[in-house]
């Protein structure tokens, strides 16, 4: 009994240590990033874990660059991705969940199948297609992949099936409400939680996206933050301090959203595994 208690205590202690180490490892790079952003580049090697007073200089350096434009481009891209993907996937999910048209099941399975196909499969022709439509060097090619992402449709279909009662739709039809009015004034208010979650996920994915902007945007005025940060390398080649501050600022929107809505984001990201 006594030894059991002791070994239990030892196991608990070692587990707490492990948790503490993992917490430090998870957070340390963030802390390092935020603090290093306050340093003069030439002082970076003297990094001692405490903030420096150089942050305003770095801030001035950043605001003189195109970084504000990069932030604006990223914001436009991410918000457009959110809006159009929500519209397309809510409409489509409602169609799959509440209408028994011919081919419903087959088309839904097709959507699920596209979730497994790597996005790079079509990239060569996609870039050419964008050139043909004169959409190259715009934010459109970076927005579209979120509009045709199967995950949104999957998420909306499941949610609408679970939440929206068919009887409500039936009685609205008896009151002869139009199908699109039913969708926008009855269904949309009922699925707001799912809309918010999916919107957050799309914002995070779009904000972090790198590959598609990399192959479709050449004009530096249209660079999103990930591409722009990369261009700091050649423009301000010595100023790592300013660059890290820019990174801290670029990470902020996503981290803030995460801190505020962590439960929603977590439930959205586990949906595929738990529900499928």
């Amino acid at each position: 009994m006594n030894t059991g208690g002791k070994s239990h205590f030892a196991a608990g202690l070692s587990f707490y240590t492990l948790i503490a180490v993992l917490t430090v490892v998870s957070l340390a790079p963030f802390y390092a990033m935020i603090v290093m952003g306050t340093y003069d580049s030439f002082q970076l090697f003297r990094f001692n874990g405490l903030p420096s007073d150089y942050i305003l200089h770095n801030f001035a350096t950043i605001s003189k660059t195109e970084f504000p434009t990069f932030m604006k481009n990223s914001l436009v891209m991410s918000l457009s991705s959110v809006f159009f993907s929500l519209l397309a996937s809510a409409l489509c999910g409602y169609g799959f969940a509440k209408f028994r048209f011919k081919g419903n099941k087959m088309l839904y399975n097709l959507v699920l199948f596209t979730m497994m196909v790597p996005s790079q499969l079509s990239i060569v022709a996609y870039v050419y297609e964008m050139k043909l439509f004169h959409l190259n060097d715009s934010l459109v090619p970076s927005i579209l992949p979120y509009v045709f992402a199967g995950f949104g449709v999957f998420w909306m279909t499941q949610y609408i099936k679970d939440i929206v009662p068919t009887e409500v739709l039936e009685s609205a039809r008896i009151d002869s409400a139009g199908e699109f009015r039913i969708f926008f004034s009855i269904v949309v208010p009922m699925i707001t939680p799912a809309v918010i979650t999916l919107g957050l996920l799309n914002f995070v994915w779009s904000w972090n996206s790198f590959f598609v902007p990399l192959v479709t945007i050449n004009d530096s005025r249209l660079f999103t933050v990930p591409l722009g940060i990369n261009s700091f390398n050649s423009l301000y080649y010595q100023d790592n301090g300013a660059k890290i501050l820019a990174l801290s600022i670029a990470t902020m929107p996503v981290v803030l959203l995460y801190l505020i809505f962590s439960n929603r984001l977590q439930s959205g990201l586990t949906a595929g595994a738990v529900k499928a």
């Binding site: 996937s89 088309l107 870039v127 192959v215 080649y237 670029a250 981290v255 990201l269 595994a273």
Partner: protein, 317 residues
Amino acid sequence: MHTAKMKAPRKPLRIQNTENFGYLFILPFFLVMIVFSLAPTLFTLWISFTKWNFFSDMTWVGLDNYIQVLKGKMFYKSLLNTLRIMLLALPACIIAALGIAYMLEVKFKKFARTFKAISFLPYVTTPVAVGVLFGLLFDYQTGFINIFMQKLGLAKDPVYWMANPNYVVMIVALIVFWKNLGYFMLLYFAGLKSVPQEMYEAADIDGANTWHKFWYVALPTIKPITVFIVVTSIIWGLQIFDEPALLVVGTDNNLSIASTLGGPEKSVYTLVSYVYEEGFILFRTGTASAVAYLMTIVIVLLAWVGFKLLNREGSGR
């Protein structure tokens, strides 16, 4: 009630019409998908049988691109590089996530929520920040890791991490591990919630210890989560590009993604790096398309093998 009864004879016709409204609702999504995803996917297949640089006339070459790619070294090298990163990072990450999630769920529940939130932060962080950050941490002169190691006496001279092909692979694997640990844990937490409490209690009565309960109660129940993690890890792991590309470009001044692609001795040159270089640096679109299709075949095959292996093991127990 009365209305429904009165309209009963006309109902079948009306329902028929209503059900077809579904097509209108799914139309916008399918329109975008067909034009911008399905069409380019098929066109890429066509391109893979041609010689073309986006501007020239297309020349039909049949299976030549595939043969050249499969005869060359780069496809196998990039495939092995990708697999090496995955094998270094993912099995350890999955096991660690499962172990920690289980311990938190059964023994240290009050910490679960906080730790879940903290450990998930790396997953949502912008890859470009992660790349630059790890590059700086492992920097030769100013990197925290070198300073730390020298102060503790672990190394006499600073280690030139980013110049050593093996170290770069390990750093990329470390990033992948660091990024996904919280996400995998989150999935396991969700799965462990579905284990009925009575099953643990029944095991307690039979005198099972924590380990037994884990092995015989929890693990079989959360099997679908493990299958999901393994299969999706295979699918996106084989597409890894951002982390290695952004790590090696991170602190190297005056360099671009194109010029640093793959890192020292191309040790982190992945399958997608190959597609990117052929298609968008060298403009050999035929080769790039062939590689993209071969990569997809590998992904489908390995995902299928992973799925089959895991399911067979389960039915055995």
